[in-house]
């Protein structure tokens, strides 16, 4: 028999605030955090808006600062006391960033023209060594620092699975608790991608909204908007006062395309079905969709949801947090998970901001405008990544 995994505490840093209550209240009210980027000159970029977290800019690694804050909130809420050896850290994170200035200086060192001056580049790289601190740019730097700060001596994993990273980290934490390797885990994801190189990269792919609006499942959606933040939970085998448990996990690969989902949604169907089967359920009351606001992804996710639930989908409601807070990339799945937990714990179904004209091809029982109230026994959270890596999570009332 599997050990049960309870959600003991939640923490969040978002463009709405530095706590989950401040974030969820804004989400419930249908507010949108997306705004013109102020801390960097994005004139001329394919997209000039984002849901950015305001900070003092003094932190060498913004990912770490956000994650620390979210973990402190979650840990305090958990009320846990656990043997450090039995506490693990599982975090979804991608690379931090060397500053644009460093990248530019390196690039110029490579010389003009088609040839690449490797020797010149090497010398420049050495000279800039103190600005390329691996402890500030390594994906693993955040989880490692969290483990040190919070005294976790159990397994410490960093999942770099693009948009699935945060959800996949929760999958790994669940597995470790179920297997008895640990008793509790700090798990979640962090994204800090309101950054020139990321906006350039995603802009080049044509993935960003040219209108600067995130409107998942809307007929006028035209791409996603980058957001950032940290979403963390403390999971435990000990129930305590927890009202929600992480009951099912499922993962799959599309095996289809680097950026486009399988048109039939096969990979998404597999991951959702596996998570539901793991939880012993065939229906849920709320779905926190991946819902990126990109034309193809939303349509395929809607197809996949209808394939998985069929007529039972009518009993559920569907929301996507990305309409309000943008796409957190490595943190996205973890943020979605908080919304799913919130639906079960509070009976408050967070809406899809920006959804005003539902796309008929994305026909789903949407929650739009303000949050809906309903008693929800179980909820599903989807996270689908570039490259076709899918992770799905099912929570239910404990």
């Amino acid at each position: 028999m599997k050990r049960r995994v309870f959600v003991r505490g939640i923490g969040c840093v978002s463009a709405f605030g530095r706590s989950w209550p401040s974030t969820s209240e804004a989400l419930a009210a249908g507010r949108v955090a997306i705004a013109p980027v102020e801390h960097f000159d994005f004139r001329g970029f394919p997209s000039q808006v984002a849901a950015a977290v305001r900070d003092d800019g003094a932190q060498p690694d913004r990912r770490r600062a956000m994650a620390f804050s979210a973990v402190e909130e979650a840990w305090l809420a958990s009320g846990l006391s656990v043997d450090p050896v039995r506490l693990g850290v599982f975090l979804g994170a991608e690379s931090g960033r060397a500053s644009l200035e460093v990248v530019l200086r390196l690039s110029r060192a490579a010389g003009p023209g088609p040839g690449f001056d490797y020797d010149g580049f090497r010398r420049a790289a050495l000279g800039l060594g103190d600005r390329m601190d691996a402890t500030a740019v390594s994906p693993a730097a955040v989880s490692s620092a969290l483990a040190a700060k919070f005294g976790a001596l159990g397994p410490c994993e960093t999942i770099s699975l693009a948009c699935s990273s945060g959800a996949a980290a929760l999958v790994e934490a669940t597995r470790a608790i179920r297997a008895g390797e640990i008793d509790a885990a700090i798990a979640g994801g962090v994204g800090a991608d309101v950054d020139p190189m990321m906006l350039a990269g995603f802009g080049l792919l044509g993935a960003l909204s040219s209108r600067g609006v995130s409107r998942p499942f809307d007929a006028h959606r035209d791409g996603f908007v980058v957001g950032e933040g940290a979403a963390i939970v403390v999971l435990s085998a000990e129930r305590g006062a927890a009202s929600v448990e992480l009951a099912g996990v499922g993962r799959s690969l599309d095996a289809h395309h680097l950026t486009a989902p399988d048109p039939g949604g096969e990979g998404a169907v597999l991951a959702m079905s596996r998570a539901l089967r793991d939880a012993g359920l065939d229906s849920v009351g709320y779905v926190q969709a991946h819902g990126t606001s990109t034309p193809l992804n939303d349509e395929v996710e809607a197809v996949a949801l209808r394939r998985v639930f069929g007529a039972r989908l009518a009993d559920a409601r569907v929301g996507s947090v990305k309409g309000a807070l943008g796409h957190w990339i490595a943190g996205a799945g973890a943020l979605g998970f908080l919304c799913a937990v919130h639906s079960v714990a509070r009976g408050e179904l967070l809406p899809t901001a920006g959804l005003t004209v539902p796309d008929p091809r994305c026909e789903l029982p949407h929650v739009a405008g303000l949050a809906a109230r309903a008693s929800v026994d179980a909820a599903l959270c989807n996270a689908f990544a570039f490259g076709g890596a899918n992770s799905c999570l099912v929570v239910r009332r404990a």
Binding site: D41, L104, S107, S138, A140, I159, S160, R251, L258, A385
Partner: protein, 414 residues
């Protein structure tokens, strides 16, 4: 947790594209490093030309960073011997941060200047137009996993664990758990990465004192439930013959010693940061590897059994627990994949103290510091010890992020 069977394995490293015989190469003091053009002549343990039988076609390679390319070739090598990839197979890899595609940035920069000053507006227009719109693919860490998964139609459970060392041990642990729990019937696990990227190398150089010898590579194993490994068949060679490093290799080794009684086989030479500085240690020599593209066979082939794969924090307690678990397993050979000479020395002493009668091999002596690939390549050195006749072998991984990995393999499931 129950041991799982290792049905097939493949490796790409500085020595070439086979894993059989790598333990002997370490004992012999083999060295395969040579000056890397990409690093302005810095000596690195670079993978030689990949045999056509397992190479990625040039068109597909344009979308890949080096780690993904190596993973794809290792995947083809895993399958070329007759094992087939099944749609429901899981895939769990340790992956690195590949870094930005430098030639793309180089294309952006000259057109992004307005006179002597960089213009963000020009960067956002002319700059972006000057580079390959697909370059973003080369920046994504998870594509080390997704490229081979897409190419071989894998739809099973998966995870890409970032690793500068022991994360790959975590990937092996996840794969083992997925197989044991029935989440998938078989799982492909391992790691792929390259430190032969100017920015990565700069970071390594900054981190290490003395500086590291950068390396690259990929290694994969195919895992299945214990029962699948019940029979043992001879390995068979397939594919073309080739040799390891080309001419001009210089040594990485400070000198091999005997394998037991406290001496470490293969110690990374300090100061090997350039061809001139590295020099040629007196006892190092280039040893060509000849052999087949890595072997595999039918699904009932067993190379051994994976007993445990675990990562701890390198705290005093974690160190004690790891050494205790290592000693309890009683391996006759221990492979050490430690990042940096200091960790190497520290762990050499610790392992020798815990297991004075065991042979100790430093896998980075031929593979260099290959980051996420280091632990995977080290595992195959341990498998090679089983192939030579050892009953049990272990891998200890000491990573730069304060983590400690232990992997245990044996010839039998018990």
């Amino acid at each position: 947790m129950k041991p799982v069977a290792i049905l097939a394995a493949s490796a790409l490293g500085a020595h070439g594209a086979d894993w059989r015989g790598v333990a002997g190469l370490i004992r012999a003091g083999a060295a395969f490093a040579s000056p890397c053009a990409e690093l302005g002549g810095v000596v690195g343990a670079q993978v030689p030309v990949i045999p056509a039988a397992i190479a990625v076609e040039p068109r597909a390679r344009k979308l890949m960073h080096r780690g993904a390319e190596l993973a794809c070739s290792a995947m083809r090598a895993l399958l070329v011997g007759g094992v087939t990839a099944e749609a429901q197979d899981g895939m769990f890899l340790g992956v690195g941060a590949s870094g930005i595609a430098l030639h793309e940035v180089q294309a952006m920069v000259p057109v992004s200047f307005e006179g002597p000053s960089f213009s963000q507006a020009r960067f956002a227009t002319e700059g972006l137009l000057a580079c390959n719109p697909l370059f973003a693919f080369q920046m994504m860490n998870n594509f080390t996993l997704c490229h081979p998964a897409i190419r071989h139609g894998l739809q099973g459970p998966n995870a890409a664990l970032f690793s500068r060392g022991a994360g790959t041990v975590g990937a092996l642990a996840e794969a083992m758990a997925a197989v044991n729990s029935g989440e998938c019937e078989r799982a492909i696990a391992g790691g792929a990465d390259s430190a032969l990227h100017p920015i990565t190398w700069s970071e390594l150089r900054r981190d290490r004192d003395p500086p590291a010898v950068p390396g690259e590579g990929a290694a994969l194993v195919l895992l299945a439930p214990q029962a699948a490994g019940s029979s043992r068949r001879p390995l068979r060679d397939v594919g073309e013959e080739f040799t390891g490093a080309g001419s001009g290799s210089v040594g990485l080794l400070a000198g091999p010693g005997r394998g037991t009684g406290g001496q470490v086989m293969g110690t990374v030479a300090p100061g090997a940061s350039s061809a001139e500085a590295a020099g040629l240690p007196a006892r190092s020599a280039r040893v060509p590897v000849t052999g087949g593209v890595p072997t595999a066979s039918g699904a009932d082939l067993s190379l051994g059994f994976l007993h445990r794969s675990e990562v701890r924090r390198a705290s005093p307690l974690g160190v004690r627990e790891t050494l205790s678990a290592l000693a309890a397993f009683e391996p006759s050979g221990v492979v050490l994949a430690a990042c940096g000479a200091h960790r190497m020395a520290e762990w050499s002493r610790s392992v020798v103290a815990a297991l004075p009668a065991s042979e100790l091999l430093a896998s980075s002596s031929i593979f260099g510091e290959a980051l996420a690939a280091s632990a995977a390549l080290g595992l195959l050195v341990a498998l090679d010890l089983l192939r030579e006749g050892a009953g049990r072998a272990a891998l200890v991984v000491a990573g730069p992020d304060g983590e400690l990995g232990l992997v245990c393999v044996s010839r039998s499931a018990s």
